[in-house]
Every structure is written in C-alpha cells, then in structure tokens.
C-alpha cells in the first residue's frame, strides 16, 4: 500500500518543471512536500492524480497505475481553491461527493459531522459565494475528504488561513492520518512539516533536494546548533574546533557545530567563565538543512 514515484519528470515547452523525482510514500504516513513557488509541487501532484501526463518516469499506487478506477480512494485539495460560487454548501458537497461515488444519504450524514467538527454548522444552507475565504476553504477540505479516501493530497492546505483555523485544520489532518489515511501535503512553511510529518521531500526548482524520514535526515545531516545565553564575552568560541558559524541575536548566541562531539569542549570552556542562563544543544532545523543543501534561503 504505497505510492511510488520513479524518475518522474515533466517539462512544459522545453522548460523542466519537475526533474527526476524518486519517492516512496509508505501507507499510513504523513508526507510533506516543501518548496517555494515554482518548485514543482503542484505539477507533481497533478501528475500523481493523472491530470497531467509525465514527460518521463512512472507513478504507481499499490503497484498499479493511477487512473479513474481508483479516484474514489483519493482525495485532493487543489492549491487554487474554488467551488461553484452559486451553489449552496450542501449542494456543492453533495455534487462533489457523488462524483466520488457516494450516496446522497451518506454524504448528508458525513457533512453534518464535518461541519460540526469545523464549527460551521450554520453554513450548510448558505451559498458558497457568501462565505468568508476561511470558511470556503473548510468546505473545500470537507469536499476533498468526505469520501474517506485512503490517499489524501492537500496542496497548500493551510495557506491564507488565520492561526485559529490553521489549528483546526491541522487537528483534522492529524485525525485523518491517525484513522489510517496516507496524507501528502505541500507547504512552504517549515514548521508545519516539522510538526506534522514523519517524512518529507524538499523540492527546489523541480529538483528533489532531500527526501525521507525527517529524524533520519536530521541525524544524517550531523550538524547541531548550540544556544548560549549569559552576560560573558564568548567571542573566542568562534575559533574553537568544529564551529562552523556563530551569530548573536541580542544576548542569545547561536553556534553551528559540525556534530555533537564538539559540544562538550565548548561547554567546558564557557563554564570556566561563570554563570550562564542557558546552554542548549538543538537538532538542526529543516531550514538549516535546506540552506546548506541549496546554498540559499528558499523563502
């Protein structure tokens, strides 16, 4: 029960949008796609769904090609949001649910549950165009998951939402994953990936920069970050062995070291100076990994 992408490429008019992506999304996992604008996330998703034909490579789901026989098992929230503006929420969800092979009765029951869960039961009989953007997005998410899909693809599900709604949607996505759905989502917010995903793939200009399990990526990466907070002058640390970078943000000093073995000598040096409020060794952030791999900050 996995989704596999093999040497997947796509070019438009000679311009490569997606370049040789290889991925394995295990069943039941939560997989994050990270990348800036034009990184190739949406193109990859459209190819997975069969909306675009790959220029090269292949995609299999449970060992089979994805076509309209399996679309009832797939839920998709496109990046460019949109519903029929003139329809009522109820009519819209019924229609999109029926397209996934559901009966009207089941749709109505599920719709009530979801509206309740998202705290918007009063919107059921309103026209889509009358809803706020955040509420439209909730309705569209409901439309893409109401048929209990086994594979859910969410393209930028949290963009354009206020923090409260982001939390509500995040909880829902986590619940769906816990109930067994495989979820792939894209975002350009590092912290969402760190919070939600076990695995990730970073895309940059169509190329796959890093992919795999987040913990493994971090431990393979090796570099650590040390945060020191105190009233002493520690500028000499810059010249300690294993220190790659050092920067100061007000009283907080952030050191980057090649690996954790260099942390102890540094600790030993600074305790000689006296009292420090803080000495902390951190895992590298995904942003650090990205910068070191690509050479630039992607945002």
């Amino acid at each position: 029960m996995t989704l596999e992408l093999e040497n997947l490429s796509k070019s438009f008019n000679g311009q490569t949008a997606v370049d040789e992506i290889n991925l394995n999304v295990p069943s039941g996992s939560m997989y994050g796609f990270l990348g800036g604008n034009g990184a190739g996330k949406t193109t990859t998703f459209r190819m997975i769904l069969g909306l675009l034909q790959p220029s090269a490579g292949k995609i299999t789901y449970n060992g089979k090609k994805i076509d309209y026989d399996v679309t009832n098992d797939i839920g998709y929230l496109p990046e460019e949001r949109g519903l029929h503006p003139k329809l009522k929420v109820e009519e819209q969800i019924r229609y999109l649910g029926q397209l996934k092979g559901m009966s009207k009765k089941v749709i109505d029951k599920k719709l009530d549950e979801w509206l309740e869960r998202f705290g918007v039961p009063e919107n059921r009989n309103k026209r889509i165009e009358k809803l706020s953007k955040g509420n439209q997005q909730k309705i569209q998410l409901i439309a893409s998951i109401i048929h209990d899909p086994k594979l859910i693809i969410l393209d930028e599900p949290f963009s354009g939402l206020d923090p409260v709604n982001v939390e509500i949607l995040k909880t829902a996505v986590k619940d769906l994953n816990r109930e067994g759905a495989t979820i792939i989502f894209s975002t350009h917010r590092m912290e969402h990936v760190e919070e939600l995903c076990e695995s990730l793939c970073i895309l940059n200009k169509g190329k796959q920069v890093i992919s795999g399990n987040i913990d493994e990526i971090k431990s393979d990466f090796g570099q650590k970050e040390i945060i020191i907070e105190g009233d002493h002058d520690v500028d000499f640390l810059r010249n300690m062995p294993g220190v790659i970078d050092m920067k100061q943000i007000r009283k907080k000093i952030i050191l980057k070291i090649e690996n954790e073995s260099y942390a102890e000598p540094i600790y030993n040096e600074i305790v000689k100076l006296g009292y420090f409020k803080r000495f902390q060794v951190n895992e590298p952030s995904i942003n650090d990994i990205f910068i070191s791999k690509v050479g630039t900050n992607y945002e």
């Binding site: 009832n72 949109g82 029929h84 029926q98």
Partner: protein, 412 residues
C-alpha cells in the same frame, strides 16, 4: 455512468431551478397567451364597431347593384334604403355625383378597417361597371379589359425540374408553398436561433465558470473530463428541451382554451404531403443544431481564463448562428432554392437553419435532407472529439485565447 449522472443531474437541476430559467420561461409563456388573445386585446383598444347596416340614399337601380356587390364581399352587412335615421352600427351612403361617381359615407362611429376595405372595393367595382356601360362597350370588349396578360415561361432549368414545368408554371408553384409549412419553418428557425444563442452562452458560462473558479480541478480529479463535458452538454440540451416542452404545452393549452378557428381559416392553414416531412426534419435539425452549437460553445468556454473574455470567445457561435438565421429567413419568400441556399445548406454551422427551408420545397429530395443530417452528425462527432481531446488540457491551463491554447495543446 454514475458520475455522468451526478454531473448531469446537478447541471440540469441547478439550471432548471435558476431564477433566470423560470423568468424567461414565464415571459415566453405569457407572450404565448397574450398572442393567443391578440384579437381580443386589439378589441379592447379598438373603439370601432362592426357595421351591420348601410343605408343608401339613391335610386333603386343603384341600390340593387350595390347590394349585390356588397353582399358578395361581406355578407354581414345589410344594404337597405335610407329611412332617415342612422342608429348604432349603421352608416349612411349618399351619392354626390354620377360623372364620375362620388360618394359620402357617414357614420356615428369608426368603421373597422376590413369593412372599410370591402366598402371601397364594392364602390370601385360599381364605378368600373358604370364606366363600361357609359362607354357602351360590348360584353366581349368588357371581358377583354379584365383579361390578364398571357405569359409563357421558357426558362432553362435542371433536368429533374423540367418535367414538372409542364404541369405548373413556377409562379404558381411558388404561390402554392404551403402556409402551414412556412409557419413551421419560421417557428423552427426562430426557436432554434433563440435557443442556440441563449444556451450556447449558458453552457459557455458554465464551463468557463468552473474553470475560472478552479473547481474544475477537483472535478476532473474525480471524473474523466470527457464524461464531465458530455454530461454537461447533455444536461444543457435537456434543459433547453424542457423549456421547449413547456412552450409547447402552453401553446396546446392556449389552443384548447381560446378559439383559433378564425385565424386558421383566415390564413388558409392546411397540411399537405410535405407537412409531415417538414415537422420531422425540423425537429431533427433543431436537436442536431443545438447539439452542434452547444458542443462548440462548451469547447470555446473552456479556453478562457477570465469571465470577461467569455463574450469574445463565444463570438464565432453568435456570428455563425446569426448568418445562418438570416440566410434562412431572408430566402423564404424569394426563390427558396437559389445557389446561396443550396451551398450554405451543406455548411455544417448553417445546415440546421437552411435545411428546413429546403425541406419546404417538395422538389428537394429526401437524399439531400438526409445528407444534411449526416453532415450534422459527422460535425457533432468531430466537435465532441475535438472538445474531448482539448478539454482536459485547456481547463487546467491559465493561458487565454483560442489560438494560444490550440498551439499549446498541439505541442503537448
């Protein structure tokens, strides 16, 4: 098939329940009922009253003459001698002079136009008879005055028509064009034009709206684009047929409720051998024309990425249907079989308008009409095939313009 039905019923129901559909249907139904009662409505505004009696102030001989002619033209009017009183629905005719004849017609109310005409005609006839008498013409000489010119037609025509010529002159033939068939033709072409313009823009809007609102991406991730497109087109056709059905029911009700016998006898509406052919082909061309134009409009609608461009994108549909409509309408009273009509009847976008015109003419063979049907079916298959192969790519593209899209799709 289930997914086809989902799109089909959603489109159909949302269109039929739309206010615009209900209002436009209601307006037309109202117009049908108003039209059915037109004579009564005219009656309300028309203060003139039918004359029943004309009183004549003249000698006996003149009166007998006038009475004979008048009764032949209008049996509802009695001609009597003047008794000095003019009541309601009565008029007084006085002779003022005899060489030439001059009259005064007096009445207390307006006289309806058709009765007025009859009176004028009767007096004209009287004048002519009197003149012939005054000139002392013999009956033969008088007869010669009335003889129309004799014209022999020696006009080259196609071999098949040559034989027909012996039986009837072309002039007579043209005159014999059945009024009922012509009315069927008018109704078909006008209804077709109305429905094509209306529903072509509606399906264009539907497709374009789904594309510009981006909901199409969710839809085509669930259902094959071709199924979706065909479901939409079929639903729109059913919506238009529903509307037509309502109009038909309204017409039937109007015929049941109101008396049409006057109108029918006035126009001499009678069916002939060609009427059934006319009706069958009109319905076929109406439906095929609708399918063709709706398929093309759906395709054009899928090209645009902003709603503002819709009217422009649909311009070809408007143009071609307008041209076809005009060719059909302007040729109905002329020679319905001229070169323009013949050639344009084989051009797919004009066929649905022009072929019914040719069907009026008994000389048009069944084969010609069937070729028209075949041309339309082939064009529809082509249009749907083209729409289907382009639709998937064009709905997800954001570039606008027909040619840009075609170019891009060809490359892929």
């Amino acid at each position: 098939m289930n997914k086809f039905m989902a799109t089909f019923s959603q489109t159909y129901l949302s269109k039929v329940r739309a206010k615009s559909f209900m209002i436009s249907t209601l307006i037309i139904v109202l117009l049908i009922f108003i039209g059915a009662n037109f004579d009564k409505i005219i009656g309300i505004f028309d203060s003139s009253e039918e004359l029943t009696t004309i009183k004549v102030e003249s000698d006996e001989a003149f009166m007998t003459q006038f009475e004979a002619i008048m009764n032949a033209l209008e049996s509802d009017i009695d001609v009597v001698e003047n008794d000095g009183e003019i009541g309601a629905a009565e008029a007084l005719l006085t002779i003022d002079g005899t060489e030439p004849l001059s009259f005064t017609l007096a009445a207390d109310q307006e006289i309806p136009g058709d009765q007025m005409n009859d009176i004028e005609m009767a007096l004209g006839e009287l004048q002519r008879t009197n003149t012939i008498q005054a000139l002392n013409l013999s009956p033969e000489e008088a007869e010669r005055l009335n003889t129309p010119p004799e014209i022999t037609y020696d006009i080259a025509s196609g071999p098949e028509e040559a034989e027909v010529d012996e039986a009837a002159t072309p002039e007579e033939e043209m005159f014999e064009t059945n009024m009922l068939n012509t009315i069927i033709f008018y109704v078909t072409v006008i209804v077709m034009f109305f429905i094509i313009i209306n529903y072509a823009s509606q399906i264009g809007t539907e497709v374009a709206m789904e594309k510009t609102s981006r909901v199409i991406e969710m839809i085509v991730s669930s259902v094959p684009p071709v199924t979706h497109l065909l479901a939409k087109i079929s639903a729109m056709i059913l919506v238009s047929l529903t509307q037509l059905g309502i109009f038909l029911i309204a017409i039937v009700i109007a015929i049941q409720l109101f008396d049409f016998s006057d109108i029918i006898s006035d126009f001499g509406l009678e069916s002939d051998d060609q009427t059934l052919t006319m009706i069958v082909y009109s319905v076929i061309y109406l439906i095929l024309g609708l399918v063709l134009y709706l398929s093309i409009s759906a395709l054009l609608g899928s090209f645009i990425s902003r709603m503002e461009d819709l009217q422009q994108a649909l311009l070809p549909v408007t143009m071609f249907s307008l041209i076809g409509f005009y060719i059909a309408i302007f040729n109905v009273w002329g020679s319905a079989d001229n070169m323009l009509v013949k050639i344009s009847s084989y051009f797919p976008l004009f066929t649905p308008f022009v072929m019914p015109l040719r069907a009026i003419n008994e000389d048009t063979s069944q084969i010609t009409l069937l070729i028209g049907v075949a041309i339309l079916i082939v064009s529809i298959i082509l249009a749907i095939w083209l729409a289907a192969s382009i639709y998937r790519n064009s709905v997800l593209s954001t570039s606008s313009g027909i040619f840009k899209n075609l170019k891009r799709i060809r490359k892929e």
